[in-house]
Amino acid sequence: MHPARLLLVAAAIGLTHSASAQTDEAILVRGAIIHTAAGAPIPNGAVLVRGGKIAALGTNVTAPAGARIIEAAGKVVIPGMIDNHSHIGARPTDLNDTPMLIGPQHRFIDALDWNDPDFADAVSGGVTTIVTGPGSGENVSGMAAVIKTFGTDYSKRMLLEKGGMKFAMGVKGRTRYPATTMGVAANLRQYLIKTQEYVAAQKKWEDDGKKGNPPARDLGYEAMSDVLAKRTYVRSHVHSATDVMTLVRLKDEFGFDLTLHHSTEAYKVAPELAKRGISAVVLPLGPRIGLGEDAMAGPYILWKAGVKVAMHTDAPVINQKWLRLCAALAMRYGIPEEEALKMVTRNAAEIARVGDRAGSIEVGKDADLVILDGAWYEPKSRVDVVIGDGQVIYERAKEAK
């Protein structure tokens, strides 16, 4: 884009947002190599943020009067990262309502402590947006939330309250039904059918002119009806290829949108996922002990097959600030650098359904940026500065030595 046009865009964005932004201070980061997750890297690039949004991007961006300038020669800029799967912000005892095997009516925001110190930890690692949700102690454990990791205005931090319905395959009872893989599948199928019947009963009452009392509401079926209507989607914890295929069958039967999580053996059925547009969120470290190099190359195999892949931390299982290393491990097994970066930025945002706001450095998107002192994928590199919604929210220089 021509510099003059960039400036015009900058001006337009600035005008649009100046009324609502907390501060109007513009920040220009310049001199760095910018990995946008939306195209080729821009060496010696500059990015201007204003009013909480990315206002201009390129190699010749001029700072407006009064803008703060961050000289970043030799540095690396990437989008604020998105951890697509974590359990941050709640006490460990609040993650799983295990007595209830199917509890879609649970919402993670009802357990969320917005001031949890883990959020600051995430920010220090360049993670600005996360999906945080209930655990895997139930076959359906409730609705995850998509939130920003910084800020004091909780309503602004909340991106999606209905951030995906958490399923967990392979979670079996020992002293009650279902205790087998078959049982889990049958139980889920039964619940989905009951949801269909619940929706049909509601519709019939409406079609009949809403005569008499409406059918009794059930918050579980109501929440699951959001899944069937694709107002939200299924995020399923799954390890074995058998369980992956069970989910694929359920998707084919009930027509919901599906993403796989942890996805340990998803690579074994990658073509089945690719042709249905099922994405996979992969945990590179945690539950993989002894699985060998084939499984470690899983994200590469999935990517090669055309599956949209994101990498996640499962925080607090892996500290959220090391999300970038989860992508680095994917890169190690053959995924090109820019594609690996997308797995903790753009892909992660799109899978979380917030791709219009987060996940890439493009004009108009939320101004969430990370400045590192070296390659984003190297263990020894440090995050120097994090910008969130257009403001500096972390500065390494101000940290205790």
């Binding site: 460990p92 470290l285 945690g286 002990i289 002894g290 607090p316 190297e378 263990p379 020894k380 590199s381």
Partner: protein, 418 residues
């Protein structure tokens, strides 16, 4: 036909029973000996399972197999100062008894059929070898207060006995939440930190009495647990005490004084508070992975029981003069593990290079320092003449995520090739 015989011999493990006799010369790489500065374009000669020469001007012996390492990095095998890899999840701890000093981790060690290939011979701990790990300390896990005796093993060898380096290597103890939580759930002791220390104190007193009685009465009935504790009380082996927060570290240091035993602090997330004492008395600390600082068998521990993770800790302790190693504390096969295995030890340790440690210090923290802490630095941990020929060849700088371990030699035998 000779090839078939060779394959057969290899399959039977016979080839590896004999000490390596044809010399191997690894030539042209950047040699990182750990005991001294890096040697660009260095040569390393291995013979009879030992390192026989290392330097810039080393001549290649006649008949040697020459390995071209130009553009590569050559370093000693990584030493993982604690791992549970090779012990089945169900074999890590006794569920009913909080203290079993008679138990030997070595006798739970069962890598057969679980290390990648599924073939029984020869033994290859692929999970460690892919990360260049050649030596590790294996121990019972932390669901017991005193799990038993740990052992030091190599990650490759012809037979189980051949991989053994030292056994028993330590008495393995865990303080804090993990043993307490298990006991509390079973409605037995130790349900509190007080009970943990009191029970340890009592069993060590019993150990002292057993030693005394044994001396005055040689026909006293043998007690294998007490015999193991005797080794600890006579300082033949140290206690490895898992202690993460300040309370638990203080208890470990108190037991050390009270019973005049050698102590190694495992976990040590709160060790900075004790840096002066640790440095003055050279009490070693084995930290967990930098990216995952608390050490625990709990999948998601309660934060209140652990100090806030601090990536600077390894560098700060090292620079304060505390012998500090970085280890995996890797869980067993098949378990849901919060942190990585030996495969990731170098990459994870690389994080510390961004937090106040030089790359040389980081590499030492996973080679020479743990070898010294384990008491086997005469054999492993650096590339020095006379030490075991445990060598790793990498295709790039050891702490880069892009780097792959290309070859691993254990006792002079090529045991892993990428």
């Amino acid at each position: 036909m000779p090839r078939i015989i060779a394959v057969l011999l290899f399959a039977l493990g016979i080839g590896s029973l004999e000490a390596q006799d044809r010399p191997i010369a690894i030539r042209g790489g950047t040699v990182i000996p750990m005991s001294g500065p890096q040697i660009p374009n260095g040569t390393l000669v291995l013979r009879g399972g030992k390192i026989v020469a290392v330097g810039a001007n080393v001549s290649v012996p006649a008949g040697a197999e020459v390995i071209d390492a130009r553009g590569k990095f050559v370093m000693p095998g990584v030493v993982d100062a604690v791992s549970h890899i090779g012990i089945d999840a169900n074999d890590l701890n006794e569920p009913t008894d909080p203290m079993t000093p008679q138990n030997r981790a070595w006798e739970s060690y069962n890598p057969f059929g679980t290390f990648g290939s599924g073939k029984p011979n020869p033994l290859r701990n692929i999970e460690g070898l892919t990360g260049g790990v050649t030596t590790m300390y294996i121990a019972p896990a932390d669901a017991q207060l005193l799990g038993g005796q740990g052992a030091i093993v190599k990650t490759a060898g012809a037979t189980l006995d051949a991989v053994l380096v030292k056994e028993p290597a330590a008495i393995d103890i865990a303080l804090g939440t993990p043993p307490k939580a298990v006991a509390r759930a079973a409605n037995r002791d130790p349900a509190t930190r007080m009970a943990e220390v009191a029970m340890l104190r009592q069993i060590l007193v019993k150990g002292q009495e057993y030693e005394r009685n044994k001396q005055s009465n040689p026909s006293l009935a043998r007690d294998l647990g007490m015999e193991a504790l005797g080794k600890l009380l006579r300082k033949e082996i140290p206690a490895r005490i898992q202690a993460n927060n300040a309370t638990d570290i203080r208890s470990a240091l108190r037991l050390r004084e009270e019973f005049a035993i050698d102590v190694i602090i495992d976990g040590g997330a709160g060790a900075w508070e004790f840096k002066d004492e640790l440095a003055a008395k050279k009490i070693p600390v084995v930290l967990g992975q930098v990216s995952h600082q608390y050490v625990s068998n709990e999948e998601i521990p309660d934060k209140q029981d652990y100090p806030t993770p601090d990536e600077r800790l390894a560098g700060r302790l090292t620079n304060a003069g505390v012998p500090t190693a970085l280890a995996t504390f890797s869980r067993s096969f098949g378990s849901l593990a919060p942190a990585g295995t030996g495969k990731w030890l170098l990459i994870d340790a690389g994080i510390a290079a961004g937090y106040g440690m030089t790359e040389d210090q980081v590499l030492k923290a996973v080679t020479l320092v743990p070898a010294q802490i384990l008491g086997v630095a005469d054999r492993v941990g650096s590339l020095e003449v006379g030490k075991d020929a445990d060598v790793v060849i990498l295709d790039g700088p050891p702490l880069s995520v892009k780097t792959w371990v290309q070859r691993v030699y254990v006792n002079g035998e090529l045991v892993y090739t990428k």
